[in-house]
């Protein structure tokens, strides 16, 4: 599929130019994007990650969500310099929560940036998105990668900061929410990094793969043509089987298109997933179906589930104003 772009090397900078033009609340200093207008005064939430997952990460730089985002090349982490610049720009003197996906490069970069700003007295806490159950066994849960569930964590952290919680409290609330969030994805077709000759993997016509990573990392199984109901059943079963500290009977359920898969098909899957949860006595109180965390034109979807108590439900329902979040 042809890319609508100019050059591969200009891809990220040009898309950020476009983003800033569509949202006058944002400012940009190179690869550091911050919410200049309409943001909160308290604890700042900063995220970052590779491009190619829009609206994740930078699209959530919005009231009620994150205050700043460090932007990497397509499928690469943000540079140390952009992490540092974003933290400095977002900080309001109340400390900064670094909230991003658990990828090796990103961790190193944010850690280095945090050490640098620490020299100037800016305090950072880190919470990692580790929701992808296909990227590690329950015993290795801390090594798991972050996928679309991170968006739910943005909302939690943003609402906690909005109500005036201090850095430790925001971090604790978000960490607890992360411990109650699980995702699993499946892919039906690959995507191509701008400038690359072709996709870095290929799925045959009518093939699908469960558990594939958002950069195309191999998954749990590859098979031909399973029905939507069959997929929904397996995804729900795997999510529910994964242990969490204190599971509740109320969940937020996010069905996310990785790009090419139409929302119609997410709705078909949603229908069955909600019914399966109901069978287990679990209610979906916050359904979200859309493009929240993509892999460019990749086909497929992810299902994310956050177990809710009253506190988390209230935070997810708190007012916000992000054009890529509407549930």
């Amino acid at each position: 599929m042809a890319k609508v772009m100019n050059t591969a090397d200009a891809y990220v900078d040009e898309l950020l130019d476009g983003l800033i033009l569509t949202d006058p609340r944002l400012t940009r200093d190179g690869r550091a994007v911050t919410l200049a207008k309409g943001g909160r005064d308290g604890v700042a939430i900063v995220s970052g990650g590779g491009s190619g997952h829009f609206p994740l990460f930078v699209g959530y730089t919005a009231p009620g969500f994150i205050d700043g985002c460090a932007v990497g090349d397509v499928f690469a982490g943000p540079s140390v310099a952009s992490c540092e610049a974003t933290i400095r720009a977002a900080d309001k003197g109340q400390g900064v929560l670094l909230l991003y996906g658990n990828y090796g490069g990103d961790r190193m970069n944010f850690d280095m940036a945090a050490e640098m700003v620490d020299l100037d007295g800016i305090r950072c806490e880190t919470v990692l998105g580790t929701d992808d159950i296909a990227s590690g066994s329950p015993e290795e849960a801390a090594k798991r990668r972050g996928v679309a569930g991170l968006v739910l964590l943005y909302k939690i952290a943003g609402a906690a900061a909005d109500r005036g919680d201090d850095l430790d409290a925001v971090a604790a609330t978000t960490r607890d929410a992360a411990a109650h969030t699980r995702s699993i994805g499946m892919a039906t077709s690959a995507c191509t990094i701008p400038g690359a000759a072709g996709p870095s993997f290929e799925l045959g016509k009518g093939e699908m793969e469960l558990g594939m990573g958002i950069h195309g990392e191999p998954g749990i199984w590859r098979d031909t043509l399973r029905s939507a109901d069959d997929l929904a059943d397996e995804m729900i079963q795997r999510l529910l089987a994964d242990p969490v500290p204190a599971p509740t009977k109320r969940v937020a359920l996010m069905l996310n298109s990785l790009g090419a898969t139409p929302l119609e098909e997410l709705l078909i899957l949603y229908r069955r997933a909600a019914a399966k949860l109901k069978e287990q006595g679990i209610d979906v109180v916050l359904p979200a179906v859309g493009h929240f965390a993509t892999s460019m034109e990749m086909g497929g979807l992810s299902m994310s589930m956050m177990y809710l108590d009253d506190a988390r439900e209230a935070l997810l329902r708190a007012p916000s104003d992000c054009r890529y979040w509407k549930v």
Binding site: F75, A76, S79, V80, S82, G105, R107, H215, P218
Partner: protein, 206 residues
């Protein structure tokens, strides 16, 4: 004789050329177990370094400048580990215009340790740090630059071969470690290709 800023600059140019040449090969190696971008990462990184070659004669300042360039140029694990390397070298070399070749191994040992601390990998996980470790050990005390280069290259080649049939133990690759058996680690492969080019530079500069 030892490492100077001008030798360093020449090495960077050679490495940048090597990176362009190896781009497709490295991407392909990474595609088999990671996200397929090691080649483009390394190419962009060394393009940036080659475009910002330090003018200073002070090795410490030169490495600090390279660290700054790195830190702004890439966000990949490999790139950040290179940033860590540059930062690690900048401090002890501050004020020096030449690093005796015999001391290089000790400095690279520091680099190795900082990389392990920062990246959280362990030796044996099958990463570029394993290759660096082998180079550190093999080159200890050697002060002839030609021999040092040859020994480093041999160590790199041997490490590549020795680890090929072992499983990767970090990042996403550990999830299907079995399938990484028989495959070169893309970061090791990158280091091997860059080293080959760099050693050629040093040899001709020596």
């Amino acid at each position: 004789m030892g490492l100077t800023v001008s030798a360093l600059n020449a090495a960077i140019d050679r490495a940048a050329a090597a990176a362009r040449e190896a781009e497709a090969e490295l991407n392909a190696a990474d595609a088999r177990m990671g996200d397929g971008d090691t080649g483009v990462t390394v190419r962009r990184l060394f393009d940036a370094l080659a475009g910002a070659k330090p003018e200073d004669r002070d090795l410490g300042d030169a490495f600090a400048a390279l660290a700054r360039t790195c830190s702004g140029a890439t966000g990949s694990s490999l790139g950040t580990l290179v940033t860590v390397a540059m930062m690690t070298l900048a401090k002890p070399l501050k004020g020096k215009e030449e690093l005796p070749w015999a001391e290089l191994s000790d400095h690279l040992a520091d680099v190795r340790d900082r990389m392990l601390a920062r990246g959280g990998a362990e030796l044996g996980d099958k990463t570029m740090v394993d290759m660096l470790d082998a180079i550190v050990t093999a080159t200890r005390g050697i002060d002839d630059p030609a021999r040092l280069g040859q020994v480093a290259m041999d160590a790199a080649s041997e490490t590549l071969a020795a680890f090929r049939d072992r499983p990767n133990r970090i990042g996403r690759a550990r999830m299907f470690a079995d399938r990484t058996v028989g495959q070169d680690d893309p970061g090791m492969l990158a280091l091997h290709r860059l080293l080959t080019a760099t050693v050629a530079t040093e040899a001709s500069d020596a």
